[in-house]
């Protein structure tokens, strides 16, 4: 595709109407796996967190993790879903070496939660309702690493290594109904939906939902139909899009790619596609035609799940404050205008602000740093704001140093730069870089005298009562002290000398 020039996004939307389906997998943060007692801790020695059941050894049997079921119900309730009175697991049969049983224990036509919706807020402050088809429980597969090839992909590899630590970790798959009517905002809706879902999952405490750690993974299904028509076009399924930004980019690229193919008189092939973070494009993976038969049937090794209504209602009553409600509360607490709050949301900075403020920073200061300096850096490096190597506590410390008069804004920026560069805590950066504000009169005296001597005209004006001209002299002092002087003190000293 990369050699063919793409139809522009605007031209694509001029002719076509995008329809999206989003499938999000969330790894639950349960202590043990979905069907056995093995730990789910990340980062352990390969295959050290396995047992006969999650290795699929002959004779082994699954036992459902009750916390997993509870988490699924919580997610279903938070997504305004109906909770099944009776549902079953099913086997999804297909061969792959990292799947120990060569079937995935999943749910098929009897999901635990179905028919819900999630309202998401777009950048202009408007709300878009994404309808939820279902949320169901399943288990994760193991992990294959392909060794010996240049690309790390299976093609060209000499051998593959299998790690089954991940096999059997509980997953919730959340599937939207076809998202129609988003038009040119489809990529934005996709991103906003995944962001909102991520916040929701975190608020529920069922998963950290870290996309960078694979705890939340998104598949973007997309099709185009000519404007004004209602029949869905053929969809592509872009798998494992693993950041908010990528979700938006993948949707955008696929809209352009589909439009290019369709405009050219071609047909879209139903296929799996891979998204490439580096250039924002997708390439074809496995073609799905006859390979698609998973031969689902009810899992005979497990008994049906029939959550008692009283239990479901208890869980409903215990649901935490949901993100939308929380946002409204925080906006009031922080005394932000709608516009300012929206900018915080757009930057994905709500949690960061909340934590920074909780660590003692004033709301306006916290907002200023996260949405200013730090957002700019995130943008420059193409990373998420939350991924910046600085913690809310560190930002709060910088704010405190400014409030104490130990740093001015310019110095504070340098301290933040130092923290980001890995130079340690803010106080350590101040010390190592020698960035403390100079307000000691004897140290400043020479610089003040120098500034007056260098700028006799301005000095004269001030002596004549034109005090507003003092800015130029303050600037000169700041320059000679490399910005470390306390500007207010400098001004006082200048006035004293020139009065």
């Amino acid at each position: 595709m990369s050699v063919i020039s793409l139809v522009s996004y605007e031209d694509a939307l001029a002719s076509y109407d995008p329809v999206m389906g989003l499938e999000v997998h969330v790894e639950l943060g349960t202590k043990t796996k979905m069907f056995c007692g093995c730990s789910t801790e990340l980062g352990a020695e390969p295959n050290s967190q396995t047992c006969p059941t999650c290795l699929g050894l002959p004779g082994s049997l699954p036992v459902v993790n009750a916390v997993g079921v509870e988490s699924a119900i919580k997610i279903g309730l938070a997504l305004n879903c109906e909770i099944a009175e009776w549902c079953r697991f099913a086997r999804k049969n297909y061969f792959y070496p990292d799947m120990p049983k060569n079937f995935q224990t999943s749910q098929y036509d009897e999901p635990i939660a179905f028919n819900g919706y999630l309202d998401v807020q777009l950048e202009d402050g408007s709300t878009f309702r994404v309808e939820i088809e279902r949320a169901h429980m399943e288990e994760d597969t193991g992990k294959s690493s392909h060794v010996g090839g240049a690309t790390g992909r299976i093609h060209g590899a000499t051998h593959s290594l299998l790690d089954y630590n991940r096999a059997g970790i509980p997953l919730i798959e959340i599937v939207t109904k076809p998202i129609e009517g988003a038009g040119e905002r489809a990529p934005e809706v996709a991103k906003a939906y995944v962001a909102e879902l991520r916040e929701l999952i975190r608020a529920l405490g069922v998963s950290e939902a870290r996309m960078d750690k694979g705890q939340m993974r998104c598949d973007v299904n997309l099709s185009l139909r000519p404007n004004g028509t209602s029949t869905f076009g053929t969809r592509s399924e872009t798998k494992n899009v693993n950041s908010l930004r990528s979700v938006e980019r993948a949707a955008r690229f696929e809209i352009q790619r589909h439009a290019t193919v369709l405009t050219d008189g071609g047909t879209i092939v139903q296929e799996t596609r891979h998204f490439h973070e580096d250039n924002g494009t997708t390439t074809a993976g496995r073609i799905k035609d006859n390979a698609e038969d998973y031969r689902y049937f009810p899992e005979p090794d497990l008994v049906p799940i029939a959550p008692a209504r009283t239990w479901v209602e208890e869980l409903r009553a215990e649901l935490p404050e949901l993100p939308r409600v929380r946002r409204a509360r925080l906006q009031a607490e922080w005394a932000l205008s709608d516009k300012d709050m929206q900018s915080v949301l757009n930057a994905g900075a709500v949690e960061l602000l909340e934590q920074t403020i909780a660590a003692g920073a004033p709301a306006d200061q916290a907002r200023k740093w996260w949405l200013g300096e730090l957002a700019r850096r995130a943008n420059e490096t193409g990373t998420e704001l939350a991924e910046q190597p600085i913690t809310p506590a560190q930002v709060a410390r910088v704010c405190a140093l400014v409030a104490e008069g130990k740093l001015n804004d310019k110095l504070a920026r340098q301290v933040i730069e130092g923290v980001l560069a890995g130079e340690g805590e803010p106080d350590a950066v101040v010390e190592q870089r020698g960035l403390a504000v100079v307000s000691d009169d004897s140290a400043l005296g020479a610089a003040v005298d120098q500034a007056i001597a260098d700028n006799p005209d301005i000095a004269a004006k001030i002596r004549d009562g034109k005090v507003q001209a003092i800015g130029a002299l303050v600037g000169a002092v700041m320059k000679t002290t490399r910005g470390q002087a306390d500007a207010a003190r400098v001004k006082d000293l200048l006035l004293a000398k020139l009065s």
Binding site: P58, V63, D301
Partner: protein, 497 residues
Amino acid sequence: MTDLIRYTAAETATAIASGTVSAVEVAQAHLDRIDAVDKKVNAFLHVDTEGALAAARAVDAKRAKGEELGPLAGVPLALKDVFTTEGIPTTCGSKILEGWIPPYDATLTARLKDAGVVILGKTNMDEFAMGSSTENSAFGPTGNPWDLSRIPGGSGGGSAAALAAYEAPLAIGTDTGGSIRQPGAVTGTVGVKPTYGSVSRYGLVAFSSSLDQGGPCARTVLDAALLHEAIAGHDPLDSTSIDAPVPAVVAAAKMRDIRGMRIGIVKEFAGEGYQAGVMQRFHESVELLRELGAEVVEVSCPSFTLALPAYYLIAPSEASSNLARFDAMRYGLRVGDDGTRSAEDVTALTREAGFGDEVKRRIILGTYALSSGYYDAYYGSAQKVRTLISRDFDAAFAGVDVLISPTTPTTAFPIGERADDPMAMYLADLCTIPSNLAGNAAMSLPCGLAPEDNLPVGLQIIAPAMADDRLYRVGGAVEAALNDKWGHPLLEEAPAL
């Protein structure tokens, strides 16, 4: 010493507990017997001499310390090679698992060990329990001790033959469509399929998960009951395990009183295909039950005629999925891994080489039955038939305490006779399959020799789910009456090996 191998399990346990004989002597006697006859019978795939003697020594040590021994402590047992045994090969009669040493014990294995039962070894079976003759074992057929040129039934032919050949007083089988009862019938031994969910399937290598059930095999009804109580009971590792007390089967086996019990003859289990001598012994059993004071009536279970086709959709469907894990990646056979082939090719080559014809036939059948577009017509319909069969049982049990039928339509057939005719082979399980589909309990016990071939005939008793005790009550009474009539247990009429 030869006497030791002819003891019942109950007698053996009593003798060991009283110090008349040591557990090691008992184990050694059976190991010697295996050594002497198993080349002919081929009941065992693996004999664990060291493990058996060590287990026996542990029982003797326990007794020497004055500790209390369980009701089966020191009694030798032959374990079907479909239950995992830590450190001991488990093949399921298949080449694909050749060389695999399980790292864990099945719950059943662990319970046997806890009970002080001495596991002699692992017994031969149709590959992955698919078959009715043990001819489908990758490691050669087992002979029927009544006539070594005939089949011992299947899939648990090895366990049944071990009992009939006095290689062990107790054995474990699994019954998916009759694999405990039909071998019991054709070898003149007792076999029980407990209620589905009453014996843990954890560590039972799955053939058809919704049908498989482990159970006791023995030479007497009481011995089967003792073993039943040792292995049954809730297991949190098996989600389909029933969390309820095990019916008092030992007490029931000792009652020997069936006066006033109502017994139903399943009308559909007769007619074409049923050997005359089998029906003759069956009708005599009916008369015997009447003489013993039971009320016998005929009942109709019309949907039982659909059981065989439903079974041959459900069992292969589940098997096609259960056996998918044998992919050469983690354990067992690996063929073609020469550094040039893909994982997919190695899996295909391994499955081609490692599975036998009957297993392949059922994987193909099941894969087809589950495929999209066919699911409703095949698997879906079969599940509906299953419901109909359960309803027929419910209706029948509303009027009677137990049902009876011949266990299998014929006596043991010659090895090779049905090997190329799957349909003829499948008919051996005609009378046993409905209980697997419904999940209730059933027993086979010897009721005589067919006059035309002097081979054992089995009487099947069927009880509602969790009423396993009724099997033992009726079985115990019938066994006692027949032994009185014959003057000895039927098995004593078997020719010497």
